[in-house]
Symmetry: C4
Subunit: 285 residues, 4 copies
């Protein structure tokens, strides 16, 4: 957020502090109110999609939706107003989402069909992370995120290998199984393969020939066993991240380097005595 | 339990020792008897719910249920009798459960329908943990519980993120898939999303359009991979807990090094006597 | 095996060495032959259960089954013959299995129905572990087994807690869901609960009411998350077992105690200098 | 790759460098082009298997398939041309795949049915790993692969034990369950057992008797719990591999202690210079 600065002193600065920061009491209140409003708007979308509720409370939902849309629009206007470079904000991830959250309802005035796009507003739930972050509730999550980023490459490689294997075996089943069993094309067989390997197992497509069932068993056992890979890699990364706490934060007084283990007595880079409170036994020897 | 004290010496104290504590042989016998009675009452509820068994043994079950209810009621009366502050007990977690366990059968005398509430008695199985705890069989479980509590925040954050992602993708499928496929409302789509992401995969609702199947595959692969997160976090916490158990937090008074095992008497690096409260046997030898 | 001794020198001793031990080349050949015979007998049982194969090769299977039975009977007779205390063997785990493996075919001469019990012979596959063990292929497995035994109590406690939770929630669904959805009794609801919590998800019984689906989602998310517990506990135990390699096998020359870490220079119990090849720096100070 | 050498200087050598190596810019371009061509050919196979697309774009796909086949054939010819010992290459893993990738289309000129074998070309996706490897994107994967190889024996032993248990319990269900439930033979019961234990749970075969459901629950809980074994073993191996990467195996020449980090130049315990091949900068200062 470092690039988005308040547009001046006075009202704009105060608005900026309330909307974009969360140090003051008012700013925290705004964050909580925004979170509740997002939950409410999501609740309306969810309930309005149920035919019975739509029939009974449809008009109430319509009014509430307009209420939420107006509040979101005002919030958006204030955000734009109190920023120096509003374009930068509108092009940012959360900016795009904020605009998408209010657009469908307004568009529906012109094009009646646009109403259904209101589900886009669900993306606003992502802002909840922002709110959580501001309230420093996700300090815990950073460690998790770091470990996830570190193990990302290995997990993507794993998924790529999984996809290749699934594609090969699914094509085999496309050749073996009759079309009546549901294996009508290779893409559909791949869908079945993913359903099987991830152990979801809907049962909408199932092999019926002995060989098809045999290969399925291979896929299942593979899927059951190789889950160990991402789990193992990620576990190791979390443990490594937790162990990072084992390194002292002190720099060496000799060479200034960091990352000394907490039980180190001499700098591993230049051999300087690290414990400044007791004398170096070498100097007395 | 520290706040619940026996109501006086004599009979009350002895009753308290048998019912609430488990040092004496009689008290242990009472715990075992109570555990068996809870298992029996649960067994009756389970079997009585099977139509065939209800038809054949319904009356026997009825008599046994009253027998168990009477025994539970007597136990409850004794608990109240032997305590100094019975109200405190009745408001406690186990107190509420103990009352709920006997209430339905008595209420059924006045309101015949109340009988079905007897399943509430199943909650009494929770008391089994209490019995286990008293018999110190769950010493092992404490370590597990500690690790669970330490990783709770991260796992809740994980579940929250999972719910957001499921909500967004499920809404997408609600838009894409025809209602005949089962995606009749967003809440139902979310139900499908959870069934898919957790790899349960009932198959009561399955996508039928190519795009729906493609997004489903994304959800499945996500669900299959991100299980690594709670597992990794929890594994790391268990490993940390096990290690904390083994290494002392004290530094050696001789060389200042850490990471001595808890049963160490001499520093493994410099041979200094570690236990500062007792003299070093070598100096007196 | 320590209690089972050969019955004398000469033929009995040699037989014992071939059948019960696996040092000599002949004994190893016997083990391999036995393993192959077990695989063959299992193969016959499997194929004979397929109606088409039974119709076409039924008589061949019948002859082969008698062949295998005769070979197993001869082996059993030789085992009994070469042992000093055959009763001890017959009461042992593998002894019972060896008898059960041949009994059904012989009994079928008297009682035709006994034939179907031949599947008991599948238990003989357990002997394959014995063969594997003798061929020291499972040296790897011991570490795994040790970790499994160490984490057994925690995993059993975990399963017990899981069963309690499933029982309580399944009973709730029995009250909520209509019988037509398949929740006809509490035991059947528990079956559904286990199918759901373990993420198997057959789909033969599925909730149809909104509340039932909501509670199901809770069970699914629980089952999806708490798999972390047994995995975490077991991972920690395997890591602990692997780390056991970090302890030196050498005993302290001062007090004779073991379990010194490989980087220890002084005995942590008595302070004696551990490295016998270099002098103790204290003696020169 | 060491055994496959270029057939001479000039054009052959340069061709070899482009096709088999990936140091030069042209060679990297060739790798990317090959990867894209493989993806394209896989895409054609996938889409051509969908009946609608086949009906509409069938002729286009046919032309493109011939185009890809010609390009692959030219590539194969060039590979053979620029090698000194082409037979060695043709017998290698990737050589066989390269031949199989072009054979079906050519064979279809003689035998019309051979066309369906074109799915064999999917195996060419395996070459993508080769391309990835050359572009050193899989450096990350090596650690993962090492850990996988180290834990392979234990995971295979685990799968073997799982298969034995599934075979025994599935046979039991074959005896208990009626044939109408789908348990028509032991092999089919084993298929059901694997579907259940791996928590896939299609639901195409489900137990209907109380005892069958009870045993199923045992299998489910087993499958749900024992996933901890391969995961635990693999996690431990990844952690060990990551740690091995960080700590040197050398002991300090001054104090004999181990566990120095690989980038350490001085012993962290006694300050001794660790790198014996170069002089200590302190002594010259």
């Amino acid at each position: 957020m470092g690039t988005i600065k308040p547009g001046g002193l006075g009202i704009k600065t105060r608005l900026f502090q309330v909307i974009f920061e969360s140090d003051t009491r008012l700013a925290k209140g705004f964050d909580v109110f925004l979170a509740l409003l997002i939950f409410l708007s999501v609740g309306i979308i969810l309930l309005d999609s149920v035919p019975e509720y739509h029939a009974r409370f449809g008009e109430l939902f319509y009014v509430m939706e307009w209420g939420v849309t107006l509040l979101f629009t005002i919030e958006l206007a204030l955000r734009i107003y109190c920023l120096e470079k509003p374009k930068l904000y509108l092009k940012s991830f959360y900016g795009v989402i904020d605009v998408l959250a209010v657009l469908p309802t307004w568009l529906a005035l012109l094009f009646p069909g646009a109403q259904t796009l209101v589900v886009v507003r669900l993306l606003r739930t992502l802002r909840l992370f922002r709110v959580l972050e501001m309230m420093t509730l996700v300090g815990e999550g950073r460690l998790l995120m770091d470990a996830l980023i570190r193990s990302r490459d290995q997990i993507l490689l794993f998924l790529f290998a999984v996809l290749l294997v699934v594609t090969i075996f699914s094509s085999l089943l496309y050749l073996i199984e009759p079309a009546e069993a549901g294996f009508t094309s290779i893409p559909k067989s791949i869908y079945w393969g993913i359903v099987t390997l991830t152990t979801v197992g809907y049962g909408d497509i199932t092999p019926v020939t002995p060989w098809g069932q045999f290969i399925s068993m291979m896929i299942m056992l593979t899927g059951y066993s190789i889950i160990a890979l991402p789990v193992g890699v990620f576990s190791a990364e979390v443990i490594r991240a937790l162990r990072a706490e084992r390194y002292s934060e002190e720099a060496c007084p000799g060479c200034g380097k960091h990352r000394h283990e907490v039980d180190a007595r001499y700098c591993k880079y230049c051999g300087t005595w690290l414990d400044e409170e007791t004398p170096d036994p070498r100097s007395s020897g």
